[in-house]
Amino acid sequence: MVTLRLVNISKKAGQRQILKNVSLEVTDKELFAIAGPPGAGKTTLLKIIAGLVPPDEGEVYIGDQMVNTVPPGDREVGMVFEVPPIYPNRTGFQNIAFPLEIKKIDGDEIRERVEEVAKLLQITHLLERKPATYSGGELQRVALARVLVRKPRMLLLDEPLKNLDAKIRETTRVELKRLQRESGITMVFSTHDQVEATAVGDRIGVINEGVIEQIGAPEELYSFPKSVFVGRFIGSPTMNLAECAVKQLDDRWVLEALGFNLDMTTRAYEIKSEAMTQELLLGLRPEDIILLDSPENSGCFEGRVELTQNFGDERVVTIRVGEVSLNCLTGKERVFRYDQKVYVKFKEEKVHVFLRDTGMALGRSTN
């Protein structure tokens, strides 16, 4: 069982708080993503787990052992950096074998272990070649092989896909997931790209300015974001926001947004009464907005097409409604002209409501 537990990790660099009370648990054989924008503290967190940077406060547990005072080499945690340090004048074999040679492991065993890991990562053809002839993806895999060959208990990857071309990134991300499944190694990786995080990670910790905003499975983060930040960070196109207010009309609960009333009575249990006195934000996923060519009798309002983005199989249509631009996701069958008049309607059961000052979601979460 290789579990990882972080308890209240904090770290400062000078005056700047890089990490603040970060707690999380990674279970055995889990593929865990740490996702956040550049500068959120992802790399520092990985370095603290690896033992390359000491935390100012908090504890790191691997299994049942508190490892704060255990040096990096003895933690049996492998870390692959964004820019992997590979020796240009050594062959793939020599690069991968290097950490074993340092440990004075017997030559036959080295050969066996290098070949085994090369097969797993499908880089057998690179063993006799030098790094200058590798592609970006191949270089990453050789670096990974060099870490895996030591048979670490846990693998940490810092932005493993960042420096790859868009097209190669797509296939490499699948390989990463497959590799983790096949090797069964507990893995933590960081990424600034939410698509990568949700496509690859079993669970994701979303980090923003050194604070973990939410931890959960991809579907959970997408459907039940606990904060505006998570709602906007996860998902592409980004969740739309509009100012709104809650009113009680007789026995009905109504959300007023964009000059339009949404009946929320069925979800009244989520909307605590104190919400009525606060400033609120309405969050709308682009696929939860329905575009109509003609007005329905109730519950829709008028907008104009501001921009259409064609993604091949999908279209993102930006609709101007009063002061707000809403991004809407539609299929490829529909064609929209610039400045065309359309009627907009929401999937009411899917709207998100956040408190404006704290950014926290109202009610709509699983726990």
Binding site: A166, T198, G235, R285, N310, D313, L329
Partner: protein, 363 residues
Amino acid sequence: MPKLVVKNLRKLFGTFEAVKDVGFQVEEKETLCLLGPSGCGKTTTLRIIAGLEVPTSGEILVDGVLVNDVPPQKRQIGLVFQDYAIFPHLSVFENIAYGLRVRKMPEAQLRTKVHDTASLIGVDNILDVPGKKLGLSEMQRVAIGRSIALDPKLLLLDEPLSNIDAKAREKMRAELGKLQKEIGIATVYVTHDQLEAMTLADRIAVMRDGLIEQIGTTSQIYDSPRTLFVANFIGSPSMNLIDCELVQNEERAILKSRDFALDITELAERVRGESKARELILGIRPEDVSVDVRKTDPEAMQSEVQLVEPIGARSIYHLKIGRLTVLAKVYAMPELEVGSKVWISFNKEKLHLFDKKTQEAIL
């Protein structure tokens, strides 16, 4: 008259032929995107248009005038670089005014021009802010503003979004799209990112190894790729490409692959050329593969879920048929678990066929 004509462009670096025979036109107000992987010749082509590289042969015409021998600064072409090259110590006003001052435009006229430009690109409220205090999106606007203040006939953008993180890029892409509409200047845009190309370009020229493989609108390129390379390069995740052969008798036409057979009799007469006994590649986009837990389509093939990638409201399933992996994109959150047995079928109307030898589409 087209704003830009590029004819039979060739460029050799030593013995390496970076651009082989490139030709295209850009109409007034049009945005043309040069799209391709690194090393395809797109940036070299852009630099030749700007006058920063001399072509080995070929012609560049701006507004119908041959500019091969015109120095870059006299071509009336605005070039926006990847890093925007904003002067950090100069205000937004002075950044936009920079080129006008170099041209010694009279002060009164210059002020009007800068203000007009600033309001067009939406930075008229931050004219006093120094370059170093600008956010990414403002820097992008100012960089474009500095170019268009000179009233260029043509705007060239070299990978303007490539150094920006994924989330910010999404926003900048949309902003750039709106800005383009407002500016209305003919533009050539270079990128390796297909999403940028698809969303920003009126037409895309897909390049590979110094040649244009296909030129067309996003829909043309996406729905009717002319070559295997274009089919594979455009779309995320990539189109499924499966080796097969066509077996035809009087009655039926069957596509046979190692792992399955597919009756395409109803499509057979649309297949171009002599297709018998040729090695073919079947192409089907992940969104044109449907997945069902029950066998509702009699032709459905049984498969097993190997891997699931949840991406927001969509799911990408990696499905195993025999030794083959097929990707399916479903517009719903993941409902099927790894190991589930499912039935998959291909939307035959959306099937692509390529000749393996020529790499060209035949359906």
